[in-house]
Amino acid sequence: MRKVLRYPLQALNYTLFMLLVWYFSAAPPYAQLQPDQAVITVAFSHAGERREECRQLSREELDKLPPNMRAPMDCPRERSPVMVQLLLDGKLLLEEVARAPGLYDDLGVDIYRSAKVPAGKHTLAVQMNDNVRVEGPTYTHEQTVTLEPAQLLVVDFNSETGSFIIQ
């Protein structure tokens, strides 16, 4: 084909290519959230209680240990998993059971879970169990929240004060 006749074809090809690039660079739109929805995110770091209680060593047990290792208390390293439940208007919204990380299951857990909920007024209850030696929740919190559409509500936990913070 003569070179001059190729130019319109080339223009057509470039146009098609650029249309493809342009369209998929920003379309089709993705609706992450419906207009009447909000998001609740539970996010905190917390170390569960030890699986076993610390124990006072007897005089005989201490004497058997090398002098530099005679700590009066024996504390097993393994920590309990942390179980957290979020209830919205009395219904289970999300539940997470996080095993303590680390070679000896002895580190703190990081929890990050989100759920989409309808915007509006709700009763939000959080329950957490961080001790295998205790039946049922070790921490609870209940609060009425009013969620705006597209609002992100964060449920945090302060390990020092042992309280949930909802903001």
Partner: protein
């Protein structure tokens, strides 16, 4: 019988043909997908450097600085931003097309395994550079990308602490943002360059520059798109809000919506599995490469032409290991040899006229189809011709099937690659009964072994050694390249050539008769 061509390959070859009609073989973008992708990276790099001058690498200032460039400085910063985005997207399209092409044409297995294996993670490198780029704009999309990327990272067992928590209100610092800036501007591009180097390091004569016409056309097209549809931002990121509708760049962010449906660990599993599956494709099933080329030192003077011509960097020149008077010898690395035979065509000793020994030996040869056999089969094919216009048709195993062209007028010989043809073989065919020599093979610009077509053309034009001699009957030689699906065109072209040769013969015999008459009159 026509070679069976699978529908994917057939469709691809059709598309390729359309682009050859539009751009010509030299500018056919499908033959330059790799260099086009690199060209788009150049556009990304240059536009990115400009954007960096005005970009504020802080949480408070990033969005405003991008908005300033987009709206206040639309004629320069805005255009540069759009070029930056669209060229990045165009790069992904060309890379995906590049992958599809190699797959459709079955050019990803056998000796090509390394390029494929390293190419797959290279695509991921490109994607991650794009991801950090979207992060830096720090609009709603940037926040979305940041949070979800952090969730992906947090789900890896090697990560301690939670990155995603940093994005909750009040917990984000400029340090992470600066780190992202560093990664996007320097760390990831350096890794990408290294990945590209790995991708091509088993090839020689690697082209990294797109043909000028194609580069100019692509840049103009990007510029027009940037002016007509400038890239814009979403609303600024608000840590206490969740973006609702997002205009995702699907070329880069297509995995993210999955995180809405699946846990991050499952998304990792899916992407890792797809990546691994793609990476092991060259062995599903493996493709056998023929035995590697062999060097015959007693015929090799160490000129190094074969090493220069090898498309896969499988031949090297080293100091002579025997007592011959030559300084160097060549060595073949069998692990990289594609068994294309191009080196045989490069060797000065591959001259079928040589009769010094009982068998024809050359400096470098293919054990499964040595030059001696090429000569013998040429002889046999020509001896079988009984027509008036005898044509020797040479072709290659990766293009149009030659079998159906065999007739009383046409002798055929298919080689591994037409780059395997030493120019003296063409003269030999003429001397041994061929009225014309017709050479076909992979389409122009699309040699299965990369450089065979190019080297053959250069040898015939006298620009590459060994060159076709000046006295060769050039009017009785033609080259017409045809893929497996171009059989009809090849048939037409061959018939034309036969007519031309017949006319030439007629002219010659008329001239001879005239000369005889003149001689007898005298």
């Amino acid at each position: 019988m026509n070679k069976r061509v699978n529908p994917i390959k057939r469709s691809y070859l059709l598309l390729e043909e359309w682009f050859t009609v539009s751009f010509g073989a030299d500018w056919n973008p499908l033959y330059h997908l790799g260099t086009l992708a690199i060209f788009f990276f150049w556009v990304v790099l240059i536009s990115g450097l400009y954007l960096f001058i005005f970009f504020d690498t802080s949480i408070a200032g990033a969005y405003a600085s991008v908005e300033y460039m987009t709206h206040e400085q639309w004629y320069a910063g805005g255009v540069m931003r759009s070029l930056h985005r669209y060229a990045s997207d165009a790069a992904v399209v060309t890379i995906l097309l590049h992958m599809f092409r190699e797959f459709a044409l079955d050019r990803y297995r056998g000796f090509r395994w390394w390029s494929w294996l390293t190419g797959v993670p290279t695509l991921w490198f490109v994607i991650t550079v794009g991801i950090t780029g979207y992060w830096l704009v720090w609009d709603e999309l940037g926040l979305y990308v940041a949070v979800l990327s952090s969730q992906l990272m947090d789900s890896l067992p090697v990560m301690s602490g939670s990155m995603a928590r940093d994005f909750l209100a009040g917990q984000l610092t400029d340090r992470l943002f600066t780190l992202m800036g560093f990664l996007h501007l320097l760390g990831q591009p350096i890794l990408l360059v290294f990945a590209i180097w790995l991708h091509v390091n088993r090839l020689s004569h690697v082209g990294i520059t797109a043909p000028r016409g194609l580069a100019v056309g692509s840049l103009l097209a990007l510029l027009v798109l940037s002016l007509l549809a400038p890239a814009t931002s979403h609303a600024p990121a608000e840590l206490s809000k969740v973006p609702t509708v997002l205009h995702l760049d699907w070329f880069y962010l297509n995995v993210y919506p999955l995180l809405d449906k699946w846990p991050a660990s499952q998304v990792w599993m899916l992407t890792t599995s797809v990546t691994l599956l793609l990476m092991i494709m060259p062995w599903l099933p493996p493709k056998k490469t023929g035995p590697a080329a062999e060097v015959h030192l007693d015929e090799c003077n160490g000129c190094g032409q074969c090493a220069e011509d090898c498309p896969f960097d499988a031949i090297s020149v080293q100091a002579r290991s025997d007592d011959a008077r030559w300084e160097n010898e060549v060595v073949v690395n069998p692990a990289q040899c594609a068994a294309c035979g191009i080196c045989v065509g490069s060797c000065h000793s591959s001259n079928p006229f040589r009769h010094a020994k009982q068998t024809l030996e050359t400096g470098i040869d293919m054990p499964q189809f040595p030059i001696e056999e090429v000569r013998a089969r040429t002889d046999a094919a020509l001896a079988g011709l009984s027509g008036d216009t005898r044509i020797m048709l040479f072709g290659c195993n990766n293009a149009a099937d030659l079998e159906e062209f065999q007739s009383q007028d046409v002798a055929v010989l298919s080689l591994f690659c037409t780059g395997m043809i030493p120019p003296t073989l063409v003269e030999y065919a003429h001397r041994h009964g061929a009225d014309g020599v017709f050479i076909t093979g992979c389409r122009t610009g699309d040699c299965y072994y990369r450089l065979g077509n190019q080297w053959l053309d250069q040898r015939f034009k006298g620009r590459r050694k060994p060159a076709l001699r000046q006295r060769a009957q050039r009017d009785r030689i033609t080259v017409y390249r045809a893929a497996e699906t171009d059989t009809a065109k090849l048939r037409r072209r061959l018939a034309e050539f036969q007519r031309d040769i017949a006319a030439l013969k007629q002219e010659e015999s008329a001239a001879k008769a005239r000369q005889d008459r003149e001689a007898s009159d005298a």
